[in-house]
């Protein structure tokens, strides 16, 4: 297996593994936010704003993995 093959494998691995953690984390974050909103509907504004920011932060992890994958695929420094 040459560098290309390993790069493709690495990219797939990065995206697939890197998606698991943020997916779980986002699920938990949304669940917690829903519970909080149900308990305190008057704080829904602040909560949803914070939730969006938090979701974007979490999602950034997956995006980092995607960037790594794309780097491997299109701007591989070893190829």
């Amino acid at each position: 297996m040459d560098v290309h093959g390993i790069s493709i494998l690495g990219a797939a691995l990065a995206v697939s593994v890197g998606a698991i953690g943020p997916a779980l984390a986002e699920g938990r974050a949304v669940a917690a936010a829903m519970e909080a909103i149900a308990r305190q509907p008057e704080a829904a504004n602040t909560l949803s704003r914070t939730l969006f920011v938090g979701l974007a932060m979490i999602e950034t992890m997956a995006i980092y993995c995607l960037v790594i994958a794309l780097l491997l695929l299109f701007a591989n420094p070893f190829a």
Partner: protein
């Protein structure tokens, strides 16, 4: 992968230029308008607030007046009531004193009238009693009753002091003595009377006998200047006099009855 420094620089500059442009053309005018509108709104609000304050002040004043009104009214009512009370008391007092005075007056007049009526009644009773006694005594045997009375009259003359006896005699002789009797005096009685008088006066006596049935019983010895009365008429008159005087002096229920 190739990062172009020129592009970064150009984009940063572009962004800053865009910030300046939007600040110049968007934010500044829009914010100015918003601030201006807020100022206008604030001014209107301030005016409304001032008007509200004024209204509130007026309302409070009115409220104070309204709360003061009942107090004033109560005060006036109390004053008027006190005045009326004083006047009423004064009137009442005056009326009472007047009534008392009138009562007292009428009571006095009543007592006086009763007194007078009582006196008149008493007088009548006395007269009636005297008349009754006279009427009763008229049928009594006068000569029997007259003799002791004659003796008593003679004794009275004899009992007088010498000066009085001389005064009775009056310096004349014979002494004229006017004898008034209730009935015809018997002869022995007349002579005995003449003797005793002559003895008492020390001079001769000229008797002049007159009959007067109104005396009822008894005699009257009329001298020149004085009279010795010993008769039932005299006694009855004295008794009537005494009774009338006596009873008018002390008014009581017994006397009325």
């Amino acid at each position: 992968m190739h990062i172009d420094g020129w592009t970064i620089l150009l984009q940063a500059v572009n962004f800053l230029i865009l910030v300046w442009l939007l600040r110049r053309f968007l934010y500044r005018p829009v914010l100015a308008v918003i601030a201006e509108r807020q100022a206008v709104t604030e001014q209107v609000r301030t005016e409304a607030e001032a008007a509200r304050q004024a209204a509130e002040t007026a309302r409070r004043d009115l409220e104070a007046q309204r709360t003061a009104l009942p107090a004033e009214r109560d005060r006036l009512i109390a004053a008027a009531r006190a005045e009326a009370e004083a006047e009423r008391t004064a009137l009442l007092e005056k009326a009472r004193t007047e009534a008392d005075r009138a009562l007292e007056e009428s009571r006095g007049r009543l007592a006086e009238e009763r007194e007078q009526a009582l006196a008149a009644l008493r007088r009548q009773a006395a007269e009636l009693g005297a008349a009754l006694a006279a009427r009763l005594l008229r049928d009594a045997p006068a000569d029997v009753l007259t003799r002791p009375l004659l003796d008593e009259a003679l004794a009275a003359v004899e009992g007088l002091s010498d000066a009085r006896r001389h005064a009775l005699a009056n310096g004349v002789a014979p002494v004229p003595v006017h004898v008034v009797a209730a009935n015809s005096l018997p002869a022995e009685d007349a002579t005995r009377a003449g003797d005793r008088l002559a003895a008492a006066l020390g001079r001769p006596v000229a008797l002049d006998v007159v009959e007067d049935s109104s005396l009822i019983a008894g005699v009257e010895l009329h001298f020149a200047h004085s009279v010795v009365r010993r008769s039932w008429k005299q006694t009855l008159a004295e008794a009537k006099e005494e009774m009338t005087r006596h009873d008018s002096a002390r008014v009581d229920a017994d006397a009325v009855a």
